[in-house]
Symmetry: C2
Subunit: 153 residues, 2 copies
């Protein structure tokens, strides 16, 4: 988990993707990343001793009557950006969620100013199905809109 926590902190410190406070501890991170009924994968670099390049977890959007819908969180190490890792993780997570019986994937907090993410999710079949005005307090831009994105599996 330590390697994952380091990537989490890296992404968190950008202040433009994750909502969690900067002081989120390793224990709190573990609770987020290893949520009940979740599953998780990492992308490793075969050429570099299995160094972790990115990771995701998938969990039910709701318990019970909403548990047929999955939700997921992704992160890519700073040094691995621009290598298509996000897309590999995204496509892997859709397949893995479908295999586990989920019927749809829903992202609850896609930051509207994170254009590469929005473009990537659209490329692999997601649609914006909702917009929360000013839902995210961006480090540099103030309150920016967030998207709810969704696709069936």
């Amino acid at each position: 988990m330590q390697e994952l926590f380091a990537i989490f902190q890296e992404v968190l410190s950008r202040g433009d993707v994750f909502p969690y406070p900067e002081e989120t501890s390793a224990a709190e991170f573990a609770e987020i990343w290893l949520a009940p009924n979740s599953f998780s994968y990492v992308a490793v670099d075969d050429q570099a001793n299995g160094e972790i390049l990115g990771a995701y977890y998938v969990k039910p959007q709701w318990p019970g009557r909403g548990s047929h819908v999955a939700t997921a969180t992704y992160m890519v190490a700073e040094r691995a950006r621009g290598r298509g890792i996000g897309r590999i993780l995204g496509e892997h997570s859709l397949k893995a969620a479908q295999e586990r019986g989920y019927s749809a994937m829903q992202f609850n907090l896609v930051i509207s100013t994170n254009e590469p993410a929005v473009a990537l999710w659209k490329k692999i079949g997601f649609k914006i199905i909702g917009t929360v005005p000013g839902g995210f307090r961006h480090r540099d831009l103030g309150d920016v809109d967030t998207y709810l994105m969704h696709r069936f599996l």
Copy 2:
């Protein structure tokens, strides 16, 4: 908490409002209702020895960079339905959230077939800002759409 849990079970058993599994325990309910950084109120009947008629809790929609937006859950006892308790709780929660510095209120799982709830939230200023297709497995109707509703405070 026991009185609240009884109302929760009552509402839960309808299978048309809450997502949680029917077997949700009192301890699990307490974790839901007393979430970190939440606040909670109950509506009591002055004419009936302070019997609880309904309740709500409010918590941050996200930690950190999303914590200026509140989210809330409401429930009304079966025997108190049709007496305007939902509206009293709704209006009270908006005022209480505003007083605590929240800038908006967001509902994540308004069941589209729960017409009285949708109508009530619209009446007190909420707008539908997103629709999740088939997001809720309704006991009688199968998969029905859910709404994301929002208003500024």
